[in-house]
């Protein structure tokens, strides 16, 4: 199956390891992965700060980039959600609205997509580790990460007391309300560390950046490679290696 990979801007320039692991896993599971050139940002930042015109311009750009029909897969819940929001940026009845509806209908978050592949969820991967999962509110309650991780042999899936509680990032929120954001982050970090995990796992790159950046800064991240995207966990479990290397290494 041929898929188009959508890479969040944060992953493209700051966390490329996540993208490389996603490619490795998808190829291992039999997908031919295209990475359409010219990708920038899904427009989420503009949309969430009230700049609908800016978001619309970015949406038009994405509509061009992913004009080819066929599945679009993205290793981020929030960017996936943004693509699914495109139709509301355009006037119903217009060509752009129709294109937005068409694209929204074929974009999948990475975990959801993998879970729908033949043979899911048990692809025969194995990894001996205690993994604490931050579900991320941006996945809208999807249980795909839990189902994929539960199927990895040797992996003990741990969930914090309030698994879906926000980690406090919220994009611009973390800059406008830094102390509130940090309070939420501290709550999240302590709940995760209380599980005594080997790995901190999330399917959302921005949450992962927020949580692991905080632990790293405060000397509570013992060793690189401890914070992983679900794609990286699967990469380790299936291929025995981190294709793109560890985050924060």
């Amino acid at each position: 199956m041929r898929i188009q990979l959508m890479i969040p801007c944060l992953v493209e320039d700051c966390l490329p390891e996540i993208g490389l692991a996603a490619v490795s896993v998808l190829e291992r599971l039999g997908c031919a992965v295209d990475h359409p050139q010219g990708q920038t940002c899904c427009g989420q930042m503009a949309f969430k700060t009230g700049d609908v015109a800016g978001a619309r311009a970015q949406a038009l750009h994405s509509l061009e980039i992913f004009a080819d029909t066929g599945a679009v897969v993205c290793p981020s819940g929030s960017c996936t959600k943004m693509l699914r929001t495109y139709p509301q940026l355009f006037e119903p009845g217009t060509r752009d609205h129709a294109r937005a509806v068409e694209l929204a209908g074929r974009v999948s978050e990475f975990c959801e997509f993998v879970l729908a592949l033949p043979g899911a969820p048990d692809f025969g991967g194995e990894l001996k580790a205690r993994a604490a999962l931050h579900r991320s509110c941006q996945l809208d309650g999807s249980d795909a990460p839990q189902r994929l991780l539960s199927a990895v042999r040797g992996l003990t899936l741990l969930e914090p007391e309030r698994p879906e509680r926000c980690c406090g990032f919220g994009g611009l929120f973390s800059l406008q309300f830094p102390a509130v954001s940090e309070s939420l982050l501290e709550d999240k970090a302590s709940e995760l560390l209380a599980l005594d995990p080997d790995l901190l796992v999330s399917a959302e790159p921005s949450c992962l950046m927020n949580i692991s950046g905080y632990l790293s800064r405060n000397g509570r991240m013992t060793g690189p490679g401890r914070a992983l995207h679900v794609a990286q966990v699967l990469d380790l479990a299936l291929n025995g290696a981190l294709t793109g290397g560890a985050l924060w290494s």
Binding site: T40, G50, G54
Partner: protein, 474 residues
């Protein structure tokens, strides 16, 4: 906890930041919001056909909003026929004038009040006090915040921010109970408040309450409570005034019943509150109790304008169960006072933005991480994050935050985007200079101070290309 008279929605950001540093406040809020969420979760677990009941409740509210003008006129007719005097108040000043006029008319010396957010909204207490009357809040939580000189900090739990010891200290000082110990139990404290309030009920000339729902077909006012103080406020004094914001009307008693199945469960985790009063007109000739004179004040105060907005009107579906507050991680961290207005939490940020002057509420819709916990919790299906986005759009009104604008420009111009990121990567790959760039929000410095940024690496695209080239070549 600081006195809140200085709290304003204009200073929401500052107030939030300060509140999040208050460890005592956070501990109290954490305990209380978990308690409410726990009770609510258990009640909903045991609620057979929950989704059907939620849908019926939503439908009752949607019906009310879609037929609002007609229903309000019908309410006026049926309430008048039952002997209630109906008043219309366009704004807060008119609302205050009507109620103080009634108070003066009956020569009220002592006024008892049931818990009501709408009378907080129109700042009724100071206006009533200015007529020379004593005004007593009779809900335990409201009584506590009144003694403390503070506004309520939660829709259904006004003193949620106070610990038991805070309350003991307050009673010691304000009720002249020098011997009261900090370790006094909640039943002991409640009994002391009850003793103080009983005297007020018996002496009261006027009772003022809010309205949970007003039924258009019967002219009834429905009041939901647990303490019995509202029932006493509506039956002990000879005159009762109920104040409602206009969206509280429902079409039929059946619609009201649909809402009553959901409201207490969502608010406090109860199947039904201890008291539900359905008041239709004043005491009749053959009745032994009830007020001899009943008034209903229907307040607009900006809501008609909200109704005219096809998206934002959804906020008026709210029946004030308070569950979105308890579920919101931001509210759990900062409490109600930081919002600087009567309504707090997710629904409060929406209502205040809609009802108060725009220039005072610019920051409110931004104090949200878009996590959606509120939407998931709301039994009426209000999509708070979507409304928050709509308000952000309104605040931004074509003039986006410049970081956002710059980002948006670059993101729709891939070449410029690559050049900009490339330049940053060459100059400052670890992003150490980021917080010192001129013109960036000061929050960026705090962000980077507490979180190691991942830095700019060789891009995904470049690494993928290189890897594939190597593979192809091998």
């Amino acid at each position: 906890m600081v006195l809140t008279s200085t709290f304003t929605p204009r200073n929401f950001r500052e107030q939030s930041e300060r509140a999040s540093h208050d460890a005592t406040l956070r501990a109290v809020l954490d305990h209380a919001t978990r308690y409410f969420m726990g009770k609510r979760g258990a009640a909903l677990e045991a609620f057979a056909d929950r989704d059907t009941h939620f849908a019926r409740a939503r439908s009752a509210r949607l019906t009310a909003l879609s037929r609002l003008p007609d229903l309000l006129e019908q309410l006026e007719r049926s309430a008048s026929a039952a002997g209630t005097k109906v008043h219309w108040a366009a704004d807060a000043a008119e609302g205050r004038a009507i109620v103080t006029g009634i108070a003066k008319g009956c020569g009220a010396k002592v006024v008892v009040k049931g818990k009501s957010m709408v009378t907080e909204e129109i700042a009724l207490n100071p206006a009533l006090e200015a007529t020379g009357a004593e005004v007593w809040e009779t809900d335990l939580g409201e009584f506590i915040v009144q003694l403390a000189g503070e506004p309520p900090s939660h829709i259904i739990a006004p003193c949620i921010h106070k610990s038991r010891a805070d309350v003991a200290a307050l009673f010691r000082e304000k009720l002249g109970l020098a011997d009261l110990s900090d370790s006094a139990s909640i039943p002991e404290l409640t009994l002391l408040a009850r003793r103080a309030l009983r005297e007020k009920f018996l002496a009261a000339d006027l009772g003022v309450t809010g309205v949970n729902m007003a039924v258009a077909e019967s002219g009834s006012v429905i009041l939901v409570e647990n303490e019995g103080n509202i029932r006493m406020s509506t039956t002990c004094p000879p005159v009762h005034v109920a104040v409602m914001s206009l969206e509280k009307v429902v079409a039929t008693l059946e619609d009201a019943a649909d809402l009553l199945r959901v409201l207490p469960r969502s608010a406090t985790g109860q199947k039904m509150s201890s008291y539900v009063s359905v008041l239709t007109g004043p005491r009749r000739a053959d009745e032994l109790d009830g007020a001899r004179e009943a008034h209903l004040v229907i307040l607009d105060n900006g809501r008609s304008e909200v109704l005219a907005d096809p998206v934002l009107r959804e906020a008026l579906l709210c029946f004030r169960c308070g569950a979105c507050l308890n579920s919101c991680p931001v509210y759990q961290t900062i409490g109600g006072h930081a919002y600087g207005s009567v309504y707090s939490g997710p629904i409060g940020a929406l209502l205040s933005s809609l009802l108060l002057p725009a220039e005072d509420t610019r920051d409110l819709p931004f104090g949200c991480t878009m996590c959606g916990a509120c939407k998931k919790t709301c039994p009426l299906g209000i999509d708070h994050p979507n409304l928050m986005l709509r308000l952000r759009e309104r605040v931004c009104a074509g003039k986006p935050h410049f970081i956002g604008a710059a980002h948006a420009f670059l993101a729709s111009h891939p070449l410029a985007y690559r050049l900009a990121v490339g330049a940053a990567r060459a100059v400052d790959p670890r992003l150490d200079l980021l917080p010192r760039l001129p013109g960036l929000p000061s929050g960026l410095a705090s962000f980077v101070e507490s979180r190691q940024p991942p830095g700019l690496k060789s891009s995904f695209s470049a690494q993928l290309r290189a890897g594939r080239k190597k593979q192809g070549g091998a």
